[in-house]
């Protein structure tokens, strides 16, 4: 294992510190907690959007904190949900009196910890609602959509919810917007190599130099099919086929697409994957309204990518295109 880290046990905390030191124009770290909040938090009268989860997915989640983005992100250790106390403290720090929306990937550990924190906050009279991102088509059949795990789809759901909160909508409305985005988001990943967790220093699964695994999760959870490595066009075809088999989109519908790198795959390959994907969507009669290509939700140093589609309507388009600024994504009005 070769990694630019110091004490591997401190990697998650140091990465978060580095992020906060690099981008004081957008956010600041809460002293003593592995959490960052918008520079101007708490924003009075605005619903606060709080996200977070295990580390190792940089820039997700902390990279999406800032005006027009989330109010806070709480980081756990690598691949491990943060515990309830920092979630609770951070929620209190960003609550502007209009309640807090918890937005995170649908993993057992996160659910348990965020729910526990929500309980503690509710006891103190702070309103909390929760949307669990569940975009990974590979992780459960469509009858069990709410059991799916969340991967890069967080990007769309956080953006939509944050923009709605910025409009000063009430907690129920912000929650509804997040839920709508979540309901209309589908992803599929492909892994070419395993990542290596800094502390253990070893790959978390074996995969040969000739193989890829479609549907693999962001923490190396087994995917839907392992097969020989093939061309970008064929990989995209397989992935988009599975997404379109699940998303109730019809000819002429508009979609946003995110081509997300898992950490060790260069941007050039992501652009080649986007080129393939766009053609497939065009062939399927879908209109690409906007595209996002880059490393948004990574899996440490895993090679591979994920494709995420969001089926749009006019509200989602308005919210997606609203101005926003954070370390990982800036967009003009």
């Amino acid at each position: 294992m070769k990694k630019l880290v110091n004490d591997p046990n401190a990697a998650a905390a140091e990465a978060l510190e580095g992020l906060a030191l690099a981008y004081p124009q957008y956010l600041r770290k809460i002293e003593g907690l592995t959490a960052v909040v918008r520079k101007d938090a708490p924003v009075r009268g605005k619903v606060a959007v709080l996200t977070g989860g295990g580390s190792g997915h940089e820039p997700m989640f902390a990279g999406f904190v800032g005006p027009g983005w989330a109010d806070a992100s709480v980081a756990g250790n690598i691949f491990t949900s943060p515990p309830p106390p920092p979630i609770y403290e951070t929620a209190k720090a960003v609550d502007g009196g209009a309640g807090v929306l918890f937005l995170y990937g649908n993993y057992a550990g996160d659910v348990l910890n965020f729910d526990m924190a929500a309980e503690m906050l509710t006891e103190e009279g702070i309103q909390v609602s929760t949307v669990r991102v569940a975009d990974d088509v590979a992780s459960a059949p469509s009858e069990k959509r709410n059991e799916r795990r969340g991967i890069a789809g967080d990007f769309f759901v956080i953006k939509v919810a944050s923009a709605r909160a910025e409009e000063r909508a009430a907690l129920a409305e912000v929650t509804a917007a997040a839920q709508k985005a979540n309901d209309r988001t589908r992803s599929m990943g492909v892994a070419l190599t395993s990542c290596v967790i800094p502390v253990s220093g070893r790959p978390i699964f074996e995969i040969s130099d000739q193989e890829m695994e479609i549907g693999m999760g962001l923490h190396g959870e087994p995917g839907v099919v392992r097969g020989p490595m093939t061309t970008a066009n064929r990989v995209a075809q397989d992935m988009i086929g599975r997404i379109l088999g699940d998303l109730p989109a019809k000819q002429g519908d508009e979609v946003a697409i995110l081509v997300n790198g898992l950490g060790a795959t260069p941007l050039s390959e992501l652009f080649i994957m986007f080129r393939a994907t766009r053609q497939l969507l065009e062939d399927a009669g879908l209109l690409v309204w906007r595209a996002y290509v880059g490393n948004f939700a990574s899996s440490l140093d895993m090679a591979g990518c994920s494709l995420t589609l969001l089926q749009l309507d006019s509200e989602l388009k308005r919210l997606l295109s609203a101005p926003a600024a954070s370390p990982a994504f800036v967009q003009e009005g």
């Binding site: 046990n9 295990g54 756990g76 250790n77 690598i78 691949f79 491990t80 949900s81 943060p82 515990p83 309830p84 106390p85 993993y107 057992a108 550990g109 348990l112 910890n113 526990m116 992780s139 459960a140 069990k144 059991e147 795990r149 967790i197 502390v199 253990s200 070893r202 978390i204 699964f205 999760g217 923490h219 190396g220 959870e221 087994p222």
Partner: protein
């Protein structure tokens, strides 16, 4: 020590012993978790028990069994995160609550402790036996000490029985398919691999029994 019971002072030592046992298993637990999960279980357990020990050493001498367990649970939950953080954290807190007012852990208290842990795990985690989770180990240990009475009412054999039962149950999880609702991400590939949480819970109980056994022999 009196082999028939564990005092608050003993409990501090016991938990330090458990922490060491867990640390020694870190790589193994990571590897088990890598096979069917995300590979962090050993790290999380080590971090959690390190925090438990740090917390305990700061407790006043007067802290009783209940307080030691409660504070251990709070420390574990606060330091780790992950599923295991809330689950084992709450289980330790529940053990403390259930043992409120008990000055020592004897056979009766050990039964109470396991029962409180199981019921809290079930109510929090909503898993069922056979779902291939830590519950399978907890349930087997609890069942064994409830049902059987192999050597009368002696603490050390009871703890050993609990440890053995948990270990066997943990190994048996290798044959289980993860319950779809909870862990569909694992699928058929989980077959042949034991559940890391079940294994770590059996390490926890086995280490407790080992400490008690060693201490009682030395004391005898």
């Amino acid at each position: 020590m009196d082999p028939a019971s564990i005092t608050p002072a003993d409990l501090r030592q016991l938990l330090a012993f458990v922490a060491e046992a867990i640390s020694r298993k870190e790589a193994e637990l990571n590897a088990l978790d890598a096979a069917i999960g995300d590979g962090d279980h050993g790290i999380t357990m080590r971090v959690g028990f390190t925090a438990v020990n740090a917390k305990i050493s700061g407790l006043p001498d007067a802290a009783g069994i209940d307080a030691i367990f409660r504070e251990s649970g709070i420390a574990f939950m606060g330091a780790t995160g992950g599923a295991i953080g809330v689950l084992l954290g709450k289980m330790l807190m529940a053990a403390g609550a259930a043992l409120k007012g008990r000055p020592e852990i004897g056979p009766a208290e050990f039964r109470i402790l396991l029962d409180a842990m199981e019921s809290t795990l079930v109510s929090t985690g909503k898993a069922r036996p056979g779902d291939k989770t830590m519950l399978d180990a907890v349930h087997a240990a609890n069942d064994a000490v409830k049902a059987e009475n192999p050597s009368g009412e002696e603490l050390v054999p009871m703890m050993e029985l609990a440890g053995r039962s948990a270990l066997r149950a943990a190994q048996d999880t290798a044959q289980m398919l993860p319950h779809a609702g909870r862990a569909s991400r694992l699928g058929e590939r989980a077959l042949g691999h034991p559940d890391p949480g079940a294994v770590s819970f059996s390490v926890f109980l086995t280490a407790m029994a080992e400490w008690a056994q060693q201490t009682s022999r030395h004391g005898a």
